[in-house]
Amino acid sequence: MSEQIINSPCGVKGTIGFYPGCSLKGSSSEYAQSVLAVAKAFDIELQEIQDWNCCGSTAAHNLNKELALSLSARILALSEKQGLTEVVVPCAACYNRLTVTQHELNNDAALKQRVCDIIDMPIKGNLQILNVMQMIDKYVADRLEEKVTTPFGHKVACYYGCLLVRPHNILQFDRLEDPQSMDILMKRSGAEPIEWGFKTECCGAGFSVSRTDVVAKLSGNIVKDAADRGAEAIIVACPMCQSNLDMRRPQINEYLKQKIDIPVIYITQAIGLAVGLSPKEVGLQKHFVPAQFA
């Protein structure tokens, strides 16, 4: 059902914008599905940005800075044009790109002018860009506990990755090295977050295809530490993290010479389950490493 909403760009009405980004349309559709399902459960209406384009991700960033800025800027401009003041961006990579772009444009008038010329649209630059945690914090958190019907009673390793929390001076995520916001939300959903050492280490991000060996190693270290410390699930808020830790599990296991079957799920899936949504409603069946919670 949520699939449909995404596919019809103006299918939802609301004051809060929604930028799914490419991953959520493809390899991470279950993330989109669970975000929308949780939003619905809490009566948050999201409005998809019309005619949005890809933010360019690491590829543009690595090869052509101006292109990277412009692609992201177009999204900001479209949102503004649509009269939005707030946009939820569940993908950590997109969230990072959009926030950093807005920050850079706001701090360099000449650059802003140049980019506006390139995209052929004006930009004010006062959009509130929210990641999923911030959305939940802002619109759900105070109602969360009362809504929890089936507490997510598992030991979880909250994995933040890098794109969500860095650069700190721009993103202002709660605290360096040992962030807490996801842990707090998971605790409120009935889970038991563990202390562990890899909360913000990188998973290998964009190397998923081109340097699978690197991903296997970096993600492997993360998965191993979580599993060693008895976590029953790794909670993520980024499609890249999810696919690296989940889809690359065969390579990871090969690297670790050990079979680890800890599932990797999105925070919105965990919260969705806690507030009574079915595994199917949050797309749990779509993961490669089976995720079943009694």
Binding site: S27, D117, I118, C162, M247
Partner: protein, 180 residues
């Protein structure tokens, strides 16, 4: 040793980073997850730039390092001098690509980025099958991930038809205007 004052000056102009502020503590390297894979770990990159030696700069433009850096920002976040290494890496990558000095062994990475951008250029969004196809065409890694795609498709993770946005002209314009 060819003195390279000018290039370093240019680097500083573009990135705003004064390489001389780095006091070679090595903390960036210690925290960089890719340091093991790199031919020059980040703190070494900083020192190579500090020498102002043209030859070392060329080595950097030719290095694996710049393509291995994933911009995870760990280094700058921990650097006692707040030196923006990721920004320097961005700059070096762009320069390396611009001067056609991309490291041989790193071409896969670049190929992937290019395939990615192609997809955006024509459809406005990332078309994952297209991406993989493009990547394979560029790298001849024809069999890589053959098992993954059908599984992804089965799980509803791979739309077979690319989604075209309406503003593709606008997007093409962006690509044209930012072409190096």
């Amino acid at each position: 040793m060819i003195n390279n004052q000018k290039s370093i000056h240019e680097l500083q102009l573009h990135t705003g980073v004064n390489v001389n502020r780095c006091y070679q503590c090595g903390k960036c390297t210690a925290g960089c997850q890719l340091a093991d894979e790199m031919d020059f770990p980040p703190s070494m990159v900083m020192h190579m730039l500090q020498t102002k030696d043209e030859e070392l700069l060329q080595q950097l433009l030719n290095s694996k390092t710049i393509w291995l850096c994933i911009s995870c920002q760990n280094c700058i976040e921990r650097c006692p001098m707040s030196i923006d290494i990721p920004h320097i890496m961005d700059y070096l990558r762009e320069k390396s690509a611009g001067e056609h000095k991309i490291n041989r062994q790193s071409r896969d990475i670049v190929a992937f980025h290019r395939a990615f951008l192609d997809s955006i250029k024509y459809t406005g969004r990332l078309y994952e099958i297209g991406l993989v196809a493009g990547y394979k065409a560029r790298t001849f890694h024809l069999t890589q991930d053959v098992v993954l795609a059908p599984k992804m498709y089965a799980k509803g993770k791979l739309p077979l038809v690319p989604e075209m946005i309406k503003g593709t002209r606008n997007i093409k314009g962006i690509f044209r205007k930012t072409a190096p």
